[in-house]
C-alpha cells in the first residue's frame, strides 16, 4: 500500500491491518457511549440551569425591577437598583486599582527581571500561589486588613473594591505576561538597535503590540470579580440596602449579595426575584465577555 493510502486509512480510523476483534470493537463502542454521555450530561446540565433560571426569573424582570430598591416585606415592589449600581461601582474601583498594578508587575517580570535572581523567582512563585488561594481567604484578608486592622476603612465600597482587586491581581498579571511574551523579541531588538531605551521600547513597541491580549485578560478578570460572592460576604457587604452608595466611604451591596440574600428567603416570591437578578448578572457578564472576545478578534496582533 502506498504511503497516502496508509495515511488515509489511519485518518479514517480503520487500521491497515485486519479489523479489530469483536471484543475490542464492543469496548470501543462502549467507550464512545460513555463519552457521548459525559458531554451530553454537561450540555444538559447547562441547559437545565439556564432554563430554570429563566423560568423562575423572567416573570419578575421589568424596568421597575431595575430601578426599584429592595424591599424586605414586599417582593412585588423590590428591585435591584442599589445592587446594580454597587456592582458597577465595584467594577470601576477594581479596574482602577488592578490595571496599573497588574500590568506594571507583568512588565517588570517580563522585561526587567533577571530570572536567576532569587527575589524575582520568589515573586513568580508567589503569584502562582496567590492565584490558587480560595476567594474566601481574600475576604478574610480584606476583613482583617482593610475593613478592620491597619486601614480600618469599615465595610465600605472602597474596601470591597480593594479586596476584589487583590483577588484578581494574580490572574491579571499572569494573563498580561502571556500577552507581553507574545511580542517577538525581534521587535524589541530592532527598537533597541535604533537607540531607544528599554522603557521607550516597552512603551512604544511592546505594549501596543500586546494591548489586545492584556485588555481581553483584564475584562475577563473583571467579569470574574463581579461574580464573586464569598469575599464580599466576609467583608460585610450589606443586604437589602435602600440607597445607592453615596461615595467611596459608604456602605454598599452588589448583585451576588442580593441574589444570596433573596435565595435564602422562605417566601417563594423572593426566590423568583433572585432568579431575575441572576438573569441581570449573567446579562452583564455576557456583555463583558462578548466585548472581550470582540476586542481579541479585532485587535489581535499576528506577528
Amino acid at each position: 500500500m502506498t504511503g497516502a493510502q496508509i495515511a488515509a486509512a489511519a485518518r479514517s480510523q480503520e487500521t491497515v491491518f485486519p479489523r479489530a476483534r469483536a471484543g475490542q470493537r464492543v469496548t470501543d463502542a462502549g467507550f464512545r457511549g460513555l463519552m457521548y454521555g459525559a458531554v451530553g450530561l454537561a450540555c444538559l446540565a447547562l441547559l437545565t440551569l439556564l432554563f430554570d433560571v429563566a423560568r423562575d426569573g423572567a416573570p419578575a424582570l421589568s424596568l421597575d425591577f431595575l430601578t426599584n430598591f429592595p424591599s424586605r416585606f414586599f417582593p412585588e415592589r423590590s428591585g435591584i437598583q442599589s445592587a446594580l449600581v454597587g456592582t458597577l461601582c465595584l467594577m470601576a474601583i477594581t479596574a482602577v486599582i488592578v490595571i496599573p498594578l497588574g500590568v506594571a508587575t507583568a512588565i517588570y517580570l517580563e522585561e526587567y527581571a533577571d530570572h536567576t535572581r532569587w527575589y524575582n523567582r520568589l515573586v513568580e512563585i508567589n503569584i502562582q500561589n496567590l492565584a490558587a488561594v480560595p476567594s474566601v481567604v481574600y475576604g478574610i484578608l480584606g476583613l482583617a486588613f482593610i475593613v478592620r486592622g491597619p486601614l480600618s476603612l469599615g465595610n465600605v465600597l472602597l474596601a470591597g473594591g480593594m479586596t476584589l482587586a487583590l483577588l484578581v491581581l494574580p490572574v491579571v498579571v499572569i494573563v498580561s505576561r502571556e500577552a507581553i511574551r507574545g511580542v517577538p523579541s525581534s521587535i524589541r531588538e530592532g527598537s533597541l538597535a535604533l537607540g531607544a531605551t528599554q522603557w521607550q521600547t516597552i512603551y512604544r513597541q511592546v505594549l501596543p503590540g500586546s494591548i489586545a491580549g492584556i485588555a481581553t485578560g483584564i475584562i475577563l478578570s473583571l467579569s470574574r470579580a463581579i461574580g464573586e460572592t464569598a469575599p464580599l460576604l466576609v467583608i460585610g457587604a450589606s443586604a437589602n440596602t435602600l440607597f445607592n452608595p453615596r461615595g467611596l466611604d459608604d456602605q454598599f451591596t452588589a448583585l451576588p449579595i442580593q441574589i444570596f440574600t433573596w435565595t435564602q428567603q422562605a417566601d417563594r416570591a423572593f426566590v423568583s426575584l433572585a432568579g431575575a437578578t441572576i438573569l441581570v448578572l449573567m446579562g452583564v457578564l455576557l456583555v463583558m465577555n462578548s466585548f472581550a472576545i470582540f476586542l481579541r478578534n479585532r485587535y489581535e496582533q499576528k506577528w
Binding site: I6, A7, A10, T15, V16, Q24, T27, D28, F31, L34, M35, V39, A42, A45, L46, L49, V53, L101, A104, T105, Y108, L109, Y112, A113, L122, V123, Q128, N129, L130, A132, P134, S135, V136, V137, G139, I140, L141, L143, A144, F145, R148, L169, V173, T197, W199, G227, E228, A230, L233, V234, P256, F260, T263, Q264, A274, G275, I278, M282, L285, N289
Partner: protein, 327 residues
C-alpha cells in the same frame, strides 16, 4: 540626527587620550535619560513587590489571630476534637475542627466523583474524537459553564436540583440542605476546569505519536488511552489537582445548599458544612471583634490556606516530575 551620536548630557569623563585619541575612561556619569529609566524600573519593581506584600499580609493576618485563638483553645482540642459548635453559648462551645475538615473533604469527594469522569471523558472526546464542527459547539458550552458565577450554581442547587431532581425525579429522601445536592453541583462547577486543562494537555501531544500507533494497528480507543493519556499525564494530573483545589475552596454553593451544621457522618441526605462555608457564615453574623468566635474565622481560614497551598505545591512538583518533553 547628530544628537544621537553626541555624548550623553553631563560633563565628559576625564579624557586620557589612548592609542587612537579615543576617550578610554569607562566612567559614565548618570544622564537624565538613565536616571528616568532607573526610576521607571524602581516603580515597576514596587508594583511587583505588592504581590509579595499581599501574601505576607494574608499570612500575617491569619497567623496573628490564629495564635490568639490557640491561646484560648488548646491545639489538641482543635485538631482532634469531634464537635464544632463555636456559635453556642460559652459552656456548650466545642472547637474540634474535624467535622469541618471532614465536611470539606466529603463534599469535595462527591464533587470530584462527578467532575473527574465527566471532565476527563469530555476532554478525551474533544481532543481525540470530536469533529471540528462539534468541537466548535461543545468548547464554547464548556467555557460558558466555566464562566457561570458560583452563586448561580448555589441557587440552582437549592431551588431546582434538590426539590426537582433529587426529590422529584430520583425520589431520594433528602433534607433541604444536603450533601448530595451540594456535592454534585460542586462537581458541575469543577468539571469544565478539569476538562479544559486536560484537553489542553492532550492536544499538546504531537500527532506523530498517535500516527505511529495507528500505523501499528491500534484502534482509536487504544491510541487515546494508551498513548495520548499517559503522554499528557502531567497536564492531566495538574487538571485534577486544580479541580480539587477549586472544590475545596468553594464557599457559596455549600453555604447555600449544604447547610450550616458541621457533621461527622457519611449520610449524604443530611446537611454538612465545609471550612470555607463556615467562614462565610460566621462572618455574616454579628460577632464582636476579638471574641473567640471572631478568631475561629482566622483559625479555620489558616487551615484552609495551608491545605490549598500544600495542594498547589504538590501539583507543581507532580507536573515537573511527569512532564514529557517532546522533540
Amino acid at each position: 540626527m547628530a544628537g544621537r551620536f553626541a555624548p550623553s548630557a553631563g560633563r565628559p569623563p576625564a579624557a586620557a587620550p589612548g592609542a587612537m585619541g579615543v576617550r578610554t575612561s569607562l566612567v559614565r556619569t548618570p544622564s537624565a535619560r538613565s536616571r528616568s529609566e532607573a526610576v521607571i524600573r524602581a516603580v515597576l519593581l514596587l508594583a511587583a513587590l505588592l504581590t509579595v506584600v499581599t501574601t505576607g499580609a494574608i499570612v500575617v493576618s491569619l497567623a496573628t489571630e490564629t495564635i490568639g485563638f490557640f491561646r484560648e483553645v488548646p491545639i489538641a482540642e482543635y485538631l482532634f476534637g469531634t464537635r464544632w459548635t463555636p456559635t453556642l453559648r460559652a459552656e456548650q462551645q466545642s472547637f474540634g475542627v474535624l467535622p469541618l475538615i471532614w465536611g470539606t473533604f466529603y463534599l469535595s469527594a462527591i464533587g470530584l466523583l462527578v467532575a473527574i469522569p465527566l471532565g476527563l471523558l469530555s476532554a478525551i472526546y474533544l481532543s481525540e474524537y470530536a469533529p471540528a464542527r462539534v468541537r466548535s459547539v461543545i468548547k464554547p458550552i464548556l467555557e460558558t459553564l466555566a464562566g457561570v458565577p458560583t452563586i448561580v450554581f448555589g441557587y440552582f442547587a437549592l431551588t431546582f436540583f434538590t426539590p426537582e431532581v433529587l426529590r422529584g425525579l430520583l425520589h431520594i429522601e433528602v433534607k433541604t440542605f444536603n450533601a448530595l445536592s451540594a456535592g454534585i453541583i460542586l462537581g458541575l462547577l469543577v468539571m469544565p476546569t478539569i476538562a479544559s486543562v486536560a484537553e489542553d494537555a492532550m492536544s499538546a501531544v504531537p500527532r506523530s505519536l498517535r500516527e505511529g500507533a495507528f500505523g501499528l494497528g491500534a484502534t482509536k480507543l487504544q491510541v487515546s488511552l494508551r498513548i495520548v493519556f499517559p503522554a499528557a499525564l502531567s497536564g492531566i494530573v495538574a487538571a485534577l489537582i486544580l479541580g480539587a483545589s477549586r472544590a475545596i475552596g468553594e464557599t457559596v454553593i455549600i453555604l447555600i445548599a449544604g447547610g450550616q451544621t458541621a457533621r461527622l457522618s457519611v449520610d449524604p441526605t443530611e446537611s454538612y458544612q465545609s471550612m470555607a462555608a463556615f467562614i462565610a457564615a460566621v462572618a455574616r453574623g454579628d460577632i464582636p471583634v476579638g471574641s473567640i468566635e471572631y478568631k475561629t474565622i482566622f483559625a479555620v481560614g489558616f487551615t484552609l490556606f495551608v491545605v490549598t497551598l500544600a495542594l498547589n505545591a504538590a501539583s507543581i512538583r507532580l507536573v515537573r516530575r511527569y512532564r514529557q518533553v517532546y522533540e
